[in-house]
């Protein structure tokens, strides 16, 4: 059964369509790569899914509901940017998550922070950009959500940090949950993907399991991506 359903989903910014009639079902318990070049509509699709954007036309359904308090309670979202209040300390942002999300595991968050050597007493404004990204990842992955939307989680970080981020995602997402990872760095994520969705100019070009893609095309997902999106 699909946990995420997009029906004729369209988003237009000032007469320019960012998404154009997307129809897609994403089943539960899958790690899905939302793959496309910059400006292809990946972030728009995720923002529509988490309720940060209002569709121009069409619908998004998460776990049978349109985006709202019910879907937000079961959806974990990691944006490209830092979305935490700089004045808060790490421990107060942990309490903030614990206050609002019933599925948030405070102990798990503190364990992960301790493994990373991050002092919970420090305020976010005193942390480096990379450390803030790690804190944000810890917060998101400490939730037992039904759907994780991770927008470009490995963009702009060094290969060692990419490994850490991907390992953290794989080890910590709750069973039966769907993880949607948007990226254009296919090579780094290919091994963890169950499914791949290629998106270009706001339209779905391909949506299939990673195994089928490899079997049918005789290429890796990364190779096919380079071929499909060749400039």
């Amino acid at each position: 059964m699909a946990i995420i359903e997009y029906r004729n989903l369209t988003k237009v910014y000032k007469n320019v369509p960012a998404l154009n009639g997307v129809n897609l079902d994403i089943p539960a318990g899958r790690i899905v790569g939302l793959l496309g070049p910059n400006g292809s509509g990946k972030t728009t699709l995720i923002k529509l899914s988490v309720g940060l954007l209002t569709p121009t036309a069409g619908t998004v359904m998460i776990d049978g509901n349109v985006p709202g308090p019910q879907t937000k309670a079961v959806t974990a979202y990691l944006p490209e940017k830092s979305y935490m209040s700089e004045w808060m300390s790490v421990e107060s942002i942990v309490s903030y998550f614990a206050d609002f999300y019933r599925d948030f595991d405070k102990n798990k968050a503190y364990e992960m922070l301790s493994r990373l050597g991050i002092d919970p007493k420090r305020t976010l404004k005193t942390l480096s950009k990379g450390t803030k990204e790690k804190v944000q990842l810890v917060l998101v992955m400490s939730r037992a959500a039904k759907v994780y939307f991770l927008d470009e989680p490995i963009a702009g970080v060094d290969p060692a940090a990419r490994d850490y981020i991907l390992n953290t995602i794989i080890r910590n997402y709750s069973e039966n949950a769907s993880v949607i990872i948007s990226t254009h760095l296919i090579y780094d994520v290919e091994n963890v993907l169950d499914d791949a969705i290629f998106i270009r100019n706001g339209q779905i070009v391909l949506a299939d399991s990673a195994d089928n893609i490899r079997e049918n095309s005789g290429k890796t997902v990364d190779m096919l991506f380079r071929e499909v999106f060749r400039c």
Partner: protein, 298 residues
């Protein structure tokens, strides 16, 4: 969930505003001490005069600072990158807005109380000081203050009901004002939130521009109310029928003059209150609609 949202909004404002309040009350205490300690009427008069202007700056400063913190919180927490977290919390988007407006109103109310304390302390000290000044060598200042108090009591005779209405309306206006700024600024942010660049500037510019325009409209309407009331009460002669100099010698004229002034102030309060209430409610309705149905965080 509204309570939880308010808890964090209150925490944000509580980082700085209580210190500002302490500073304001400390300043007021200093002036009060000055009034209580100094026995020379002329020095006291000049000091009180200087303190009056400093007070205006301090009271206005507290009001402006609390408004700025409230506006920063509304913009950052809802319409900057922080909005990505705020609007993905499992709460109604309208509750996020309501939390900001309620918290802003509560802190504006606190600021009002602090301003009252700041003003009440030295006024209390001055009233306490009148008999002492009368006993002192420089009697003129004490007499002046005493005569002012006497004039006020004479003028109020027969106008008690109007005074009560005026005070009640003042409280109502304070409550409306407390909601006005956060509701209207939320509206400014909401209508500009789709702009890609200089969003914060656009929202502040609209807020300041409309607030000044509103101030102008209120000032003009106040002048019209004044002129209208004058002619309504005294015909073509207007206020020349009674002059402040004549009032000093005539208790009934004084009472009539106070009554008219109270009438004018009551009408002013009603007009200002109505304008602000309408803007507050419309701002709240439109902002709610935008965050609930038309949110587009770029």
């Amino acid at each position: 969930m509204l309570g939880k949202l308010m808890k964090y909004d209150m925490k944000y404002m509580a980082r700085i505003l209580p210190w500002l309040y302490l500073g304001g009350i400390g300043f007021s205490a200093l002036v009060t001490t000055f009034i209580l300690v100094i026995n020379n009427g002329t020095v006291l008069f000049l000091g009180a005069y200087a303190a009056y202007f400093l007070f205006l700056i301090a009271v206005e400063g507290i009001a402006v600072c609390s408004s700025i913190f409230m506006m920063v919180r509304i913009y950052r927490n809802m319409f900057s990158d922080e909005g990505y977290l705020t609007f993905t919390l499992p709460v109604k988007n309208g509750d996020v807005l309501n939390s900001k407006i309620l918290t802003g109103a509560i802190w504006t109310f606190f600021s009002g109380i602090v301003a009252l304390i700041m003003i009440a302390l030295p006024i209390g000290a001055a009233i306490y000081k009148v008999p002492k000044l009368l006993e002192a060598d420089d009697v003129s200042i004490g007499m002046m203050i005493e005569s002012l108090i006497q004039e006020f009591s004479v003028g109020l005779a027969g106008n008690e009901v109007k005074l009560i209405i005026f005070l009640v309306l003042t409280v109502v206006l304070i409550v409306i004002s407390a909601f006005f700024a956060p509701a209207f600024y939320s509206f400014c942010c909401a209508i500009t939130h789709k702009i890609k660049r200089a969003r914060a500037f656009a929202s502040v510019a609209i807020f300041i521009g409309v607030s000044y325009a509103l101030g102008l409209i209120i000032s003009i309407s106040t002048v019209f109310i004044e002129i209208f009331s004058e002619y309504y009460m005294y015909g073509d002669e207007g206020f020349s029928a009674i002059t402040p100099t004549a009032m000093i010698y005539d208790a009934s004229e004084m009472s009539a003059y106070f009554g008219l002034r109270l009438n004018i102030m009551i009408i002013d309060l009603l007009v200002i209150g109505a304008i602000m209430a309408v803007i507050t409610v419309v701002s709240w309705i439109v902002s709610n609609r935008i965050v609930n149905k038309k949110l587009n965080l770029l």
